[in-house]
């Protein structure tokens, strides 16, 4: 089916619908908002699958050692034509590797952030530090190859831990549970770097967080699974079979209030995309209190980045 809108616009429109439903007469329409949440999920799947496809293509170009350049940070998105939208990624059986990976990405609560925009290839030349962060991916128990490390990590070629860097790169080491983030604005703080227990490497793995410019392998994700709510504080995304138990720093607490006055603010939208970790869940997730919560030994940042704000309370959970 042809769609005249790209995934990001659809997401933006959907969020606006949810926001405006709060003020409609008669109260929140549960049915309509549920349907809108499905569109959000579908658009997000495609958005992420496109990101992944792009990154995969780049990895093919730079197979070893060279820094992987992620999409440049560019709010708002360039005025390139919207990506071709074909059919959405189907259950993995029917799909190629790329789409399957993206399904896994989508299904995972581990997705903490997504890039801002789809970058045309010519923007690859930009300095690493200016690159936005890519999405990063879940551990896969089905990683091919016996020698492959179980963890999954995407490293952008960015200067980790450099606060001055304008990049939004966030890197997660699923083996050591180390999360390092170069913050930009309202995105995550370095969380686990503040927590000694988090920074302890997993057994058998003494490697420190990847140095700048290092590329680690990543693997196709798991089978797409049923959309399920991911509970606050619940360790791991649902259904990661055999992967290391992992819970990201709770993403829901960390997002700036969505501003209805800036519907074109795609960076806001990108952040909000991650909220919709699984279908309806993100919409009904409550405002989190100060986000300090121990999760499998991780301590999320004490700096409570704002609650989701008004629009998420659009869905009234009785």
């Amino acid at each position: 089916m042809e769609c005249t809108l790209d995934a990001q616009s659809l997401i933006s429109i959907s969020l606006r619908k949810i926001h405006s439903s709060r003020t409609q007469r008669g109260g929140i329409k549960l049915h309509k908002n549920l349907l809108v949440s499905y569109v959000l999920r579908n658009a997000r799947q495609l958005y992420l699958s496109e990101r992944y496809a792009e990154l995969y293509r780049r990895q093919q170009h730079y197979p070893d050692g060279a820094p992987l350049l992620a999409m440049p940070a560019c709010p708002p998105p360039p005025a390139a034509s919207p990506p071709e939208l074909g059919a959405l990624p189907l259950p993995p059986d029917a799909q190629d590797r790329e789409a399957r990976s993206c399904s896994a990405v989508r299904g995972g609560a581990e997705l903490l952030e997504v890039p801002v925009c789809a970058a045309p290839p010519e923007l690859q030349q930009r300095a690493p530090c200016r690159d936005s962060s890519p999405a990063f991916y879940r551990a896969s128990s089905t990683a091919p190859g016996p020698g492959s490390p179980p963890g999954l990590l995407y490293a952008a070629g960015c200067d980790f831990g450099a606060p001055h860097c304008s990049s939004r790169t966030t890197v997660l080491d699923l083996d050591t549970h180390v999360v390092t983030t170069v913050e930009n604005g309202y995105l995550h703080q370095d969380c686990c770097s503040q927590c000694p227990c988090c920074c302890q490497p997993a057994a058998g793995l003494a490697s420190p967080p990847p140095a700048p410019g290092t590329k680690r392998k990543y693997y196709p994700g798991q089978e797409e699974e049923e959309e399920e709510g991911v509970e606050e504080g619940e360790p791991g995304g649902g259904g990661v079979a055999g992967g290391p138990p992992f819970a990201p720093c709770t993403k829901r607490a960390r997002f700036e209030e969505y501003s209805a006055e800036h519907p074109q603010d795609s960076s806001n939208i990108s952040n909000l995309i991650s909220i919709f970790g699984s279908g309806f869940t993100g919409l009904v997730s409550r405002q989190q209190a100060d986000s300090e919560q121990p999760l499998n030994g991780q301590l999320c940042s004490k700096q409570a980045l704002a609650s989701l704000g008004a629009w998420t309370r659009a869905i009234v959970a009785f």
Partner: protein, 447 residues
């Protein structure tokens, strides 16, 4: 070959139109439900302003054998008022979501009307005579001084102008947390069900202070919500059987004898999705907006955004018939999502003999599908065709390519003119079709 001519094909003619003429539609006048009573003599409409208007068919006139009686206003009353739930800071709309008639037991008529939260049982009764000649009261009601009474007389009933009174006999409130979408009267004529997004309750018509919850699909954690109830109906003959449809395109048939809480269905009707049709909006367009049993009780019909499906109650894995209402909209779903039209809830109905089904569309078009001949027809409800006994001209939408004469292209369809509510007389070929704020009545051409 759609609809025109042929021996058995119905030729539909304009009969009447009710409602304001001007294009500026007052929101309160938007028609939200249409329902014939069991005899077809009465036709009720509900609107967004909480009013119910009942039309009554004139008795057939021997001198006017070429047309059936006209429908004229019989009673108008305010059924529901807007309310405010202070606890939740929510306004409760007065819009009438559904009207269902009870079968007539005595001189009075009874109907159930519901808004989002409260169901009311209304008694509509006629008064055509009044007592006159009281001894202690004047005709205007003032009391007479007893000392002035010198003779006594017996009051007698004298005819008066017909007065139709509607009075609320029962109010069934405070049983629904979510928005009520359906009510359905059981074939025992003693109980009825009401359904909201997540629950279905069973009531006794005489008892207002309690109801039984018979279906509850609310998950323990609302974050796990994946589907809601969209419609529910009792089986026309089996008083223990009902169905409810969901936003996921499934229909569940439940037997109340099986257990007190019918969360486990007896049958699940579901057609697997065609993967080649997958889109962003697949979930929306598969959501069922209406479910109706056939009069026989053997079939049920469901309406989703693009199609009407007929299900045999004995076959759960797919419908026995599928009719495309406006397949040309499939490539427009994106725009229809933007303008919210994709959320429109179309209803559907059977004719009296279960041989034809009808449903609405956009541009004030409505569609009929003949199950026997497999022919379908598209007609338009428009004041331009309002000469009585003029046969309606079939319409055709041109999906793509070269538009033929008299065809309408998809892009010129008016999506603000939608027909969501239609009703078919239980016995005759008389149909009521509601546009935004007008009610059209069409009849077949009698020779």
């Amino acid at each position: 070959f759609p609809g025109a001519g042929g021996g058995n094909d119905i030729q539909w003619c304009f009969s009447q139109v009710k409602g304001a003429v001007d294009d500026d539609v007052a929101e309160a006048d938007i028609i939200s439900t249409v329902e014939f009573n069991h005899s077809g003599e009465l036709l009720a409409t509900g609107d967004k302003g909480g009013r119910v208007v009942i039309f009554q068919q004139e008795q057939e006139n021997k001198t006017q054998s070429h047309s059936r009686g006209e429908y004229n206003v019989y009673s108008t009353f305010q059924s529901h008022e807007p309310e405010f739930d202070y606890l939740k800071s929510l306004e409760i709309e007065e819009k009438i979501n559904k009207i269902r008639w009870l079968p007539q037991k005595n001189a009075a008529q009874f109907l159930l009307s519901t808004n989002d939260k409260t169901i009311k049982l209304w008694k509509i009764s006629e008064r055509d005579k009044r007592p006159e000649g009281y001894n202690l009261k004047e005709e205007d009601g003032r009391y007479r001084d007893p000392t002035t009474v010198t003779t006594l007389r017996v009051p007698v009933f004298r005819p008066m102008d017909l007065m139709v009174e509607a009075s609320p006999r029962r109010i069934f409130a405070n049983a629904h947390t979510y928005h009520i979408n359906s009510i359905s009267i059981n074939s025992d004529y003693e109980t009825y069900l009401s359904a909201d997004d997540l629950r279905i309750n069973l009531w006794h018509l005489e008892i207002t202070d309690r109801s039984f919850n018979i279906v509850d699909i609310k998950p323990a954690n609302m974050e796990e919500l994946t589907e809601v109830i969209t419609a529910a109906e009792f089986h026309p003959n089996s008083c223990n059987t009902f169905v409810y449809s969901s936003s996921k395109g499934t229909i569940r048939l439940c037997d109340m004898r099986a257990s007190a809480l019918c969360d486990r269905h007896s049958k699940l009707f579901e057609e697997p999705e065609d993967p080649s049709n997958r889109s962003f909006f697949s979930e929306i367009i598969s959501s069922i907006s209406d479910v109706k049993f056939s009069h026989s009780g053997r079939y049920m019909m469901t309406r989703d955004y693009l199609s009407v499906k007929i299900w045999d109650l004995n076959m759960e894995n797919r419908p026995v018939e599928t009719y495309q209402v406006h397949e040309y909209l499939r490539s427009k779903l994106c725009s229809l999502y933007e303008n919210d039209c994709i959320f429109d809830k179309f209803e559907c109905c059977w004719n009296g003999s279960d041989s034809i089904v009808m449903t609405g569309s956009y541009n004030n078009f409505f569609r009929m599908f003949d199950r026997n001949t497999k022919r379908d027809i598209t007609l338009e409800a428009s004041r331009e065709n309002n000469k009585p006994r003029t046969v309606l001209k079939p319409r055709k939408v041109c999906a793509s390519g070269k538009r033929k004469k008299d065809e309408i292209s998809v892009d010129s369809l008016d999506f603000n003119k939608k027909i969501l509510h239609t009703a078919w007389h239980p016995k005759e070929n008389i149909i009521a079709v509601a546009t935004t704020n007008n009610l059209y009545i069409f009849q077949d051409k009698m020779n």
